[in-house]
Structure formats: C-alpha cells, structure tokens
C-alpha cells in the first residue's frame, strides 16, 4: 500500500513529461508522432491508474493515504505540497486518465492536417497533468494552483484557432469570467487560513471540528459560499455560466475533454471536497443555484440549433444536477453523476465531433438528417449516450440521476417549503429526454434536409470510432452497482449488506463528519430553523433510501413523457423540411416560450451583465487611464511645473543647456545642505 501514492504520482507526471517534450521538440516530432507520443503517455497513465484502482478495490485499503513534502512557509505557517488518495481520488483519477486516453486517440484523427497539430497535443498534455494534479491535491492551495492551470489550458484550447476572432474572444471571456469566481475562491482560502491556520483539507476540517469558527458561524457560511463561487465559475453555474456556450469555439475533442467530462466537473469535485465545512445555509444556497442552473439551461437547450451548443447547455444543466445533489446533501449521488456524466457526455461530444468531421464542418442540425445511413457507428453510439443522459433504465445515467432525485425528494419531503428543489430536477428530467432525443432524431433520423451535406457525409476513421465504442460501453455499464446499506464511518453496520460497483466505491469516501450534520448539537448559536432542518438533510443519503422508488417512478415518467413528445414531433416532422413552424402549432409552444425567455434572459440579461460590467470597467479604465491620469494627476503636476517654469525662466535667462540646469540644481542643493548643517549643529 505504501507504493500506492507513488504509482499515482508517476502516472500524474507522465503527461507533464509529454508536455515538456512537445514544448521544446514539438515541431521536430511532427504531425502524427506527437499525437502518438502524447496518447501513449496518457494510455500508460491510464493503465497505471487502472492497476492501482484494481489493487485498491480488491486488495483492501485504508481510508486514505497521504504523502507530502515541505514546500514553503507562509509567514509562520508551514505549507506542504501533498497528495491525498482516497476512494474518490482513485475514481476521479481513473476516470480522467481513461476518458483522456480515449480523447487523445480520437484527436489524432480529428486534428489530422491541422498546421498546429503538435501544439494541440502540447496543450492537451499540460491539461491532463493539471487536471490530475487537481484531483490529487490535499490542500486548498494546491487545488487553487491546479485550478488556475486547468483554466489556462482551457484558455489556450478554446482559442486554439485564434485566427478566428470569435475563438479569441471566447477564450478571453472564459478566462476572465472564471477569474471572477477564482477571486472569491481566493478569499475563501484566506478566510480558512486566517481562522484555522491550515490549508490542507484534513487540517482545515479538524480545526473547524474543534471549533475554529465557534461563534462565527456566519463567517463559516461566507467562507463556504466564497469557495463555492470558485465552482460557480469553473462548473458554469448560474450566473457565471455564460462562458461555456462560447467555449464551444474550441476544437470538439477539447469540448469533450475539458468542457464536458473533466475540467467543468472540477467545481463539483471542489464542492464535494469541502463539503464537510459547508453550513446548512451555504448548502441551501448551493442547492438553489444548482436548481436554477439545471432548469434554465435545459430550457435553452430545447431551442438551440447548433449541435455543440445543445450539448453545451445540456452540460450546464447536468452540472446543475450535481451541484443541486450536493446542496441537498446527496454527496454520493452528486459525485456518482459526475462520473457517469463524464462518460456519456464525452461520448456525445466525440459523436458530435464525428458528425461535424463527417459533414465537413457543418454544425447546424437543421441542415443534417438521416446521417444514420452514412455513419452508423457514430449514430449507434450517440443513441447509447442519449439513452444514458435521458435516464433510460439500465443505462448509467439512469442510476445516477435516480440517486439525485431520491436525495432531492428526501430533502423536499422533510422540508416542504423547499419542494421546488425536487420539482425542478424532475421537470428537467423530462426536458432532458426531450431535447436529447430531438437532437438525435434531427441529426441521424428524419429526412436529409440539406442534400449537399448529406451527399458528402461519411463515417469517421477507425482512430475516431474506436474511442466512441469504448465510451459507449462505459456509458452503459459504469453505473451498475449498489449502495452499501450503512453510512461511511459507521462501524456498527459495517457488517451489513455491502455494496458493489462504482457507487459503493464513491460512498466509501463520503465524509464521516460535516458541519451541517453537526449543527444541531454543536453550533447551537447557528441552529436556526434552516440549520436544524437541513442538518437532517445532510444525511439525505440514508434518508434517500426510502425515496428511491418514488423518485424512480417520477424520473421514468418524466423521461417517457419527454421521449413521447420528441417522438410526436418527429413523427409529424418526418416529411417536413422546416420544423420551427411545427413547433409553433403544437402545445410544445408553451415550453418553447419559456425556453425563448430563458435564452433571452441568458443572452440579454446575463451576457448583457457580463458585457455591461466589462464595458463599465473599460469606461472606468478609460476615464482613470486617460482623463484622470493625464488631465487630473498629471495636469496638476504640469500645472505646478508650469508655475515653476515661469519662475525658472526668470532664473535661467540666457541658459539653455540641461546639464547646466542640473549642475545649478546640485549647487543650490549643496548650498542648502551646508546651510542646514551649520544651522542645526
């Protein structure tokens, strides 16, 4: 077991080696070989982590393993750079390496012929290194460092085709919107360090547990919300989600890896990691942000016509599910959905990339149709992923979404005032099925609406469809398993029924102690009605057991309704060229109105707010930088100078040489010194 961390550290450093090699030798290594090099290193890392995970699962393991080394001292506080491995780390690490391997291989085909082919793999390798570092980190500071680095890679990759102004703009927007969240993340770290003197997660938790915030529960809530805002930026939650749809300007494998499977999920991972210190109020805040996000973006996804934008809004919506799950105390459910979503959403994006590749860059689903004939493998795998995200029974998404709905129902059942937290995800489950099936049908079935696109469409090369097949298998089976019947850390029931599969592995890492779970007994000052109510909810995981059946029924009904609606539209649409008109006459119109409102709100209000604040900053900048600094501060200076000059002109009659001016000043100064010295002594 001692070798465990070092195996993972080795796997972590492999992509870094790839990055370093490609930075300096990328152009020499050339087009196909740089891709093979990066992919080879990634696959090796995946193999190491799979072996490690197998060992971890089947040969017994401690709750967590930590390795750290002294890095620096901040003032008087020693800061270590460390790695912490528990079951969640193992799951995340393996997921990232496996999904990344698929996407690296796929990219060799997808990026074929791009003039900056080696550069692409340089960035991808740096990204993999940073993302794995984020997963391994044992401290808030370490998380923050890699958090910024994945953001940097995202910036480079969104703007990979920087000749396009839209791509360059999207990259900049993504980075700056994320920085807003990061700024608050940093404040959260400062609060934690100030109050507990620690930055490692375990150190922070134990200090908080011992009452570092006793009497300052509001500050703890604030700290939790600040940390959460880091996640709001990175995981594209309302209101900082505006960057993600634009980020689709990047190459599609990037959208799959970074903007669907891994980086955007980092926010959810962060919330999962800091979960123990989140107060009930903070959790409630988080739950509502997740709820707003998931319903709003699901509505917008209904009306999108760009294949990647549908998926982008769908990603935001699914991330909202995860955030909501964590907010209502469904820790396992949220992180479980993170993993299943990573598989099927990566598959969806790679499928869309295959479609775009096969249609020579066309992204508008109104111009597609009947592509099933031309690209059957892409079509079948896409259908699998659609079933998974829609929540069709026996597909992975079904299990994780069901777990989330069960947690939400459990929470709403005990807190009737927060019924919305169940209604929103249930509604969105129906919407998800609808917009995904709509996407599938419009792309692969119905009629070929653009003869030109259809005529030239072709299946993608093997290098691209093999990863699709691997991910399709994962999208089906990854969710199979059973929750253990007992709570983590609850030794008394350890002998009870043992779970199996991914969900049970995640459940092992569930924090045994949380502030909110403890609020009723410990922080009595903070025990408002919200606190005491939510304290039970943090154990929604066990409460959820009783709610699985109703939740499953609701979810399945919603899904079936969505499928039925999509089918109806499809049936009517079969022989029609335009479907927008059709939408208007069916009763879907109501939903569409809402969706249009959502889109309007997103584009006009939220984006307007983002752009408006940017414009406001720019205006302030121009005022301070041009008017205030030049006319105000400098004007004052020049005014003084002019006055002085008027006097100086009198004094320097006949003199023009500047050196002489200087000497004169020096002489005067010297004389003053002598006078002063004499006078003072």
């Amino acid at each position: 077991m001692d070798m465990m961390p070092y195996a993972f550290i080795t796997a972590w450093l492999l992509p870094l080696a790839g990055f370093v090699l490609l930075v300096f030798r990328g152009r020499k290594i050339g087009e196909p070989r740089s891709g093979y090099l990066a992919a080879g290193l990634m696959i090796t890392a995946a193999a190491i982590s799979l072996v490690g995970a197998t060992r971890w699962v089947f040969f017994g393991h401690p709750a967590s393993v930590e390795v750290s080394t002294a890095w620096l001292r901040l003032g008087t506080q020693a800061i270590h750079f460390g790695v912490r491995i528990d079951s969640l780390t193992i799951v995340m690490f393996t997921m990232v390496t496996v999904v990344a391997s698929c996407i690296f291989i796929y990219s060799i085909g997808y990026m074929h012929g791009d003039p900056r082919f080696p550069r692409f793999f340089t960035y991808l390798s740096l990204f993999a290194f940073s993302m794995l570092g984020l997963v391994l980190s044992d401290s808030l500071l370490g998380l923050f460092i890699f958090w910024e680095l994945v953001g940097l890679c995202s910036y480079f990759l969104i703007g990979f085709w920087y000749e396009k102004p839209a791509a360059a703009n999207a990259a900049k927007k993504a980075f700056i919107v994320n920085r807003v969240g990061d700024c608050l993340f940093l404040v959260g770290i400062a609060i934690m360090l100030g109050a507990t003197g620690a930055v490692t997660l375990t150190g922070v938790f134990s200090e908080v547990r011992q009452g570092a915030f006793a009497g300052h529960e509001t500050l703890l809530t604030l700290a939790g919300i600040c940390l959460f805002f880091g996640a709001v930026g990175k995981s594209a939650q309302f209101p900082l989600h505006v960057w993600l749809p634009d980020a689709m300007e990047g190459p599609t494998p990037v959208s799959a890896l970074i903007h669907a499977a891994t980086m955007v999920a980092a926010g959810v991972y962060l919330v999962g990691r800091v979960f123990p210190i989140l107060t009930p109020t903070a959790l409630l805040f988080i739950a509502y942000i997740g709820g707003i996000t998931l319903i709003g973006s699901a509505l917008i996804a209904v009306v999108m016509t760009d294949i990647k934008r549908v998926l982008a809004y769908s990603t935001i919506s699914q991330l909202g599910y995860m955030i909501l799950a964590l907010g209502v105390g469904g820790w396992v459910a949220g992180l479980f959905h993170l993993i299943t979503h990573a598989c099927f959403k990566a598959l969806l994006f790679l499928g869309s990339g295959s479609v775009i590749h096969g249609c020579h860059g066309e992204q508008d689903i109104r111009k597609m149709g009947r592509l099933h004939d031309k690209m059957p493998i892409t079509s079948w795998t896409f259908l699998v992923a659609t079933a998974a995200i829609a929540g069709v029974p026996f597909f992975s998404g079904f299990y994780s979404k069901d777990a989330i709905l069960a947690s939400a129902l459990g929470f709403s059942w005990t807190h009737r005032t927060h019924g919305l937290l169940f209604i929103l995800p249930a509604l969105a489950a129906g919407l998800t099925a609808f917009y995904m099936l709509r996407l599938y049908l419009l792309t692969f079935r119905t009629t070929a609406r653009d003869e030109h696109v259809y005529a030239h469409a072709h299946e993608s090369p093997r290098l691209m469809w093999v990863p699709l097949a691997v991910l399709a298998v994962l999208s089906i089976g990854i969710g199979w398993g059973r929750m253990p019947e007992h709570q983590a850390g609850d030794e008394a029931h350890a002998a009870g029924s043992r779970g199996w599969g991914l969900v049970s592995l995640i459940a092992e890492a569930q924090p045994a102690w949380t502030v909110s779970g403890d609020a009723g007994t410990h922080g009595s000052e903070a025990a408002s009605h919200v606190a005491s109510a939510a304290s039970e909810a943090s154990h929604a995981a066990d409460a959820a057991h009783g709610f699985h059946l109703p939740a499953t029924i609701v979810a399945t009904c919603a899904m079936l309704l969505g499928v039925f609606m999509a089918w109806l539209v499809y049936k009517l649409l079969l022989n029609k060229f335009y479907f927008d008109e059709l939408y208007r006459v069916t009763f879907v119109a109501g939903v569409l109105k809402l969706a249009a409102f959502g889109q309007w709100f997103d584009r006009v209000i939220l984006d307007g707010l983002a752009d408006g604040s940017a414009r406001w900053v720019a205006r302030t900048a121009f005022f301070s930088g041009l008017t205030l600094d030049n006319r105000g501060v400098d004007g004052l200076v020049n005014g003084v100078a002019r006055t002085a000059l008027a006097g100086g002109n009198l004094a320097r009659l006949g003199q023009t040489g500047r050196v002489r001016n200087y000497l004169l000043a020096l002489a005067t100064g010297g004389a003053l010194v002598v006078i002063l010295l004499v006078w003072m002594s």
Partner: protein, 517 residues
C-alpha cells in the same frame, strides 16, 4: 572587523568598466561593457554561500546582526562629521544585488544595437549599475544618499539622449520628481543624524540608527516619528511609484530605450521598496505601527493595484500599458509592507524580485516588437502569433508570469501578500480584510488587461503588413531564456530560490515593531 572587499569589488567593478569603456577603441566598447557586466554578475554569485544555513545562524537573533561581507572604512571625519564608507548585505540587500547584476547583464546584451554614441551610453550604463549596487548595499545613510543620487544622473542622460521623441520632457520630469523625493529624504537624514546619540556622538550608521535608544528624542515625540516617516515615505514613494506620485513613470518608460526601461522597471523601482524596508521601518518602527500610517499605506497600496490596472486597461501604447502594469504590481509590494505581517513582508520582498524579472521581460518583449514594426500602437498590431511563433510563446510566458499564474513567479508574491494581509491585525478586526478583498479583485483586472493585450497583439488573422517580420533572434532568445527560467523556478520553488534567503531578515525587522505576532 575584517574587511572582505568582495562586496566593494562588486560595487565598483562597473565603475572601473566605465573607465575602460571610455578609453578602449570604438569597436571594443560593447564587448568591454559586456565583459564587466558579466564578471560583476559572476562575482555577485559568490554572495550566495554566505546565506546558506539555518536562519538563526545566518541572520542572527536580531536585525542588527544579520549583515554579511561588511566593508567599513572611515571616509569623511572632519568638521565634526563622522561619515563612513560602510557597506554590507543581509537578506534584504543580497537578493536585490544579485537581481541588479543579472538584469544589468541582460540589459547590456539588449543594448547591442545602440548606435548613437555607444561610448557615452555604455559608460553611463555602467555608472548606473554602480549606483544601484551601492544603494542596495550601503549601510551608512550618507553613503546611501550619495549612491541614490548617483543613479539619478546617468538615468537622466540615458533617457534624455538615447530616448524617444519626447525624451527631454520625460527626462526632466523623472529628474524633478526624484529630486523632490531626495530633498525630503535629505531632511529626514539630517534630522536623524543630529538627533542620534550613538556612543556619545552623532551617526549616519543605519544599523546603529535602527538600534532602540539611539534616537532618544524620538522616543517621546510621536510627531517627530510621523513627520520623519512622511518625509522618507514621499522620497521612496516617488521611486516605487505610489499614486499620486506616479505620472513620471509612464512618460519615462515610453521615451526610454528598451534596455533602460528594463532597468528602470526591474531595478530602479525596487529602490523605493528597499528604502522603506531598510530605512523607514527599522529606524521608525513605532511610526509604521501607528494605525493611521498603516491605513494610509495600505489604502495607497490598494489604489496602486486597482488604479494601475485600470489605467493599463485603457492604454493603446503597448509600452505605456506595461508601465501602468508596473504601478499595479508594485501596489502589492506596498500593501504587503504596510500591514506588518510576516507573510505580507515575505510577499512584498518576493514580489519585488518577481516583478524585477517579469517587468524586465515584458519591457524587453515590447522592445522586440518595436524594433521590427517601429510602432507600439496595440490597435494596429495583431496576428503576430502566426508570424513569430517562438516570440509569441516566450511573450505569453512572460505575460502570464506577470499576471500571477500559479507555477510562475508573479503568483507567489500576490498570494503571499493577499493571504498575509488578510491576517493583519494592525487595522483592527475588519479593516485589513476589506482591503484584501478589494486588492483581490485586482487579479480580475490584471487578467483583463493581460489577456486583452495578448489578443490584440498576437491573436487574430495574420496582417499582411507584418508578413515579412523576422522571428526573434538568437541574441534576443538568449535574454529571454534566463528570465523565463527564473520565472518558472521562482514560481515552483519560491522558498528554496528566494524566501529562504530573506525571511530571517524580514522576521527580524518585524520584530522591531510593536505589532509583531
């Protein structure tokens, strides 16, 4: 005390080089200057072993014990004055001496294509190096003042003769500002001298002046502390530069030739921060701990951060943009110093070194473009990434290091200052936290102007008018490689590369204050 002569050798070698430059044949001038800059740099590396070891052994129990390589000779001992030639370095001076010799070496290489009277240029250049090295190692206030003024003269001519179109305006502005600051510093210096009582006589000795009890009159007169502190502060604030004394900086940078901008931003600004830490705080520890003083300094630091970043955002002259970014970054130094925490002090010192590296890199990078396209209008630039990929890569490294990306040097300074100032107690329970949050929003603005610049200069479709622009040359890469390497090394191993050498001295300075934790 035995004299080592090593430090004295480092300080005066460039002066010797100036003499050599003035007499060698015309074709040898550049190589002579380079040779002297190089040997000075290599000699300064010999300082490093002096600072290895456990902090308690290296820096001693008190601030006054931490000085190494001390050289002391009587200089002016007449008319009742006791002025010594007295130099030495501790954790504060040593990294800055090393930074000076390095940046001067790189700036000397960057000066290779100076065609206008190279003899004068390289002579003044080396004189400037001696001046700066003297400032960072003088331990006698009078000597400090002499070296301080010594940097002024060559800088004035280097901007005024080798500068851009408005060089004369910029040079005289720079000169007047600094002169104003020095006059105020001079008053404080004399005040200290005549108020001091060190073993029965007056003294300019900076170590003695920072020993409690040497300034008996100051112990009882709070007004005297404050007045002297303000006089000194304005003197140093002009150099840093602190809002509202900063307007000389953009003009000076825009007009100065590239290598001089590297020195100006990389080293000269550090003299201000160094002065605060070497003179103001150790001699007047009680003044620094007065709430109103800390508030003022902290607020000015935050204004520098935010205001500098906003002004940078508004610029269309690439070099002016970088100049304003220096103002913003030096704000972190001010904030870190003002709030009197160990982490803040360390952050401020680190930020000075980091900014010395990144600002030199950024000004150099701007100079590379200017040499090729002969303008700096950021709006007219664009699409250079396609034409100059290597240059773009190096530039992005430099700019991201300045932006404070983790893993690069700018990050450490900023995060130390922010996390340190959050814990400060000198402003009461809430004050420091408010300042920290405002300062933290600066990182958003910084990302804004850096990314916007990158977009406007490098990204977008290649422009036909820059089609034939040559890629960055080997000599230019040679300048960027040490800076880039240091940016990464300092970002990844901040403790081993910088902080281990400086924290002992900084902790000792803090211990002089009432408010030490």
């Amino acid at each position: 005390m035995e004299n080592h002569w090593l430090l004295t050798g480092i300080i005066f070698l460039p002066l010797l080089g100036m003499g050599a430059v003035l007499v060698v044949p015309r074709t040898w001038i550049r190589w002579t200057a380079l040779g002297f800059a190089l040997v000075t740099f290599l000699l300064s590396l010999a300082l490093v072993p002096q600072f290895r070891g456990a902090p308690a052994d290296v820096f001693g129990p008190a601030y006054q014990d931490g000085f190494k390589l001390v050289d002391r000779l009587p200089w002016i001992h007449s008319a009742g004055f006791a002025i010594d030639y007295f130099v030495g370095v501790d954790g504060l001076g040593f990294p800055l001496v090393l930074l000076t010799t390095l940046i001067c070496l790189l700036a000397c290489i960057a000066s290779w294509n100076i065609e206008k009277s190279p003899r004068g240029y390289f002579g003044l250049f080396l004189l400037l190096e001696t001046g700066m090295l003297g400032v960072f190692s003088a331990l006698d206030f009078f000597l400090f003042y002499v070296f301080w003024e010594l940097t002024l003269l060559p800088m004035y001519f280097l901007i005024g003769i080798w500068g851009g179109p408005r060089r004369e305006y910029a040079a005289i502005k720079f000169f007047l500002y600094t002169l104003l600051g020095s006059v105020l510093m001079l008053i404080a210096m004399l005040w200290f001298y005549f108020a001091s009582n060190h073993e029965g006589s007056h003294t300019f000795n900076l170590i003695a002046l920072s020993t409690p009890g040497v300034l008996p009159a100051f112990a009882t007169h709070k007004t005297m502390w404050i007045v002297c502190f303000v006089l000194l502060y304005i003197g140093f604030a002009v150099k840093i530069p602190v809002f509202p004394f900063h307007t000389w900086l953009p003009d000076a940078h825009v007009e100065a030739p590239t290598p001089i901008s590297m020195i100006l931003a990389g080293l000269l600004l550090k003299m201000g921060g160094y002065g605060l830490l070497r003179i103001s705080y150790p001699i007047l520890p009680n003044a620094a701990a007065v709430g109103a003083v800390a508030w003022t300094l902290g607020i000015l630091g935050v204004i520098n951060i935010i205001y500098g970043a906003l002004c940078a955002l508004a610029q269309t002259d690439f070099k002016k943009l970088v100049a304003y970014s220096s103002i913003s970054h030096m704000g972190f130094v001010l904030l870190g110093i003002a709030l009197l925490t160990p982490a803040g002090f360390q952050g401020a010192m680190f930020q000075m070194i980091a900014h010395g590296i990144t600002s030199a890199a950024m000004f150099f990078l701007v100079g590379v473009i200017y040499d090729r396209v002969h303008h700096r209008d950021i709006v007219r630039l664009g699409g250079l990434a396609g034409q100059m990929p290597v240059y773009t890569g190096l530039a992005i490294l430099g700019f991201f290091a300045a932006m404070g990306l983790p893993g690069l040097c700018g990050f450490i300074g900023e995060i130390y200052v922010l996390l340190g100032s959050w814990q400060a107690t000198v402003l009461g329970p809430v004050g420091a936290k408010v300042l920290t949050v405002i300062a933290a929003t600066g990182v958003i603005l910084t990302a804004g102007y850096i990314l916007w610049s990158i977009q406007r200069v490098f990204l977008g479709a290649p422009k036909p008018e820059y089609a034939g622009v040559p890629e960055i040359s080997r000599r230019e890469i040679g300048i960027m490689v040490p800076l880039g390497t240091l940016a990464v090394a300092l970002g990844v191993l901040p403790w081993q590369t910088v902080l281990v050498f400086v924290h002992g001295t900084l902790d000792n300075i803090l211990r002089l204050m009432i408010y030490n934790r």
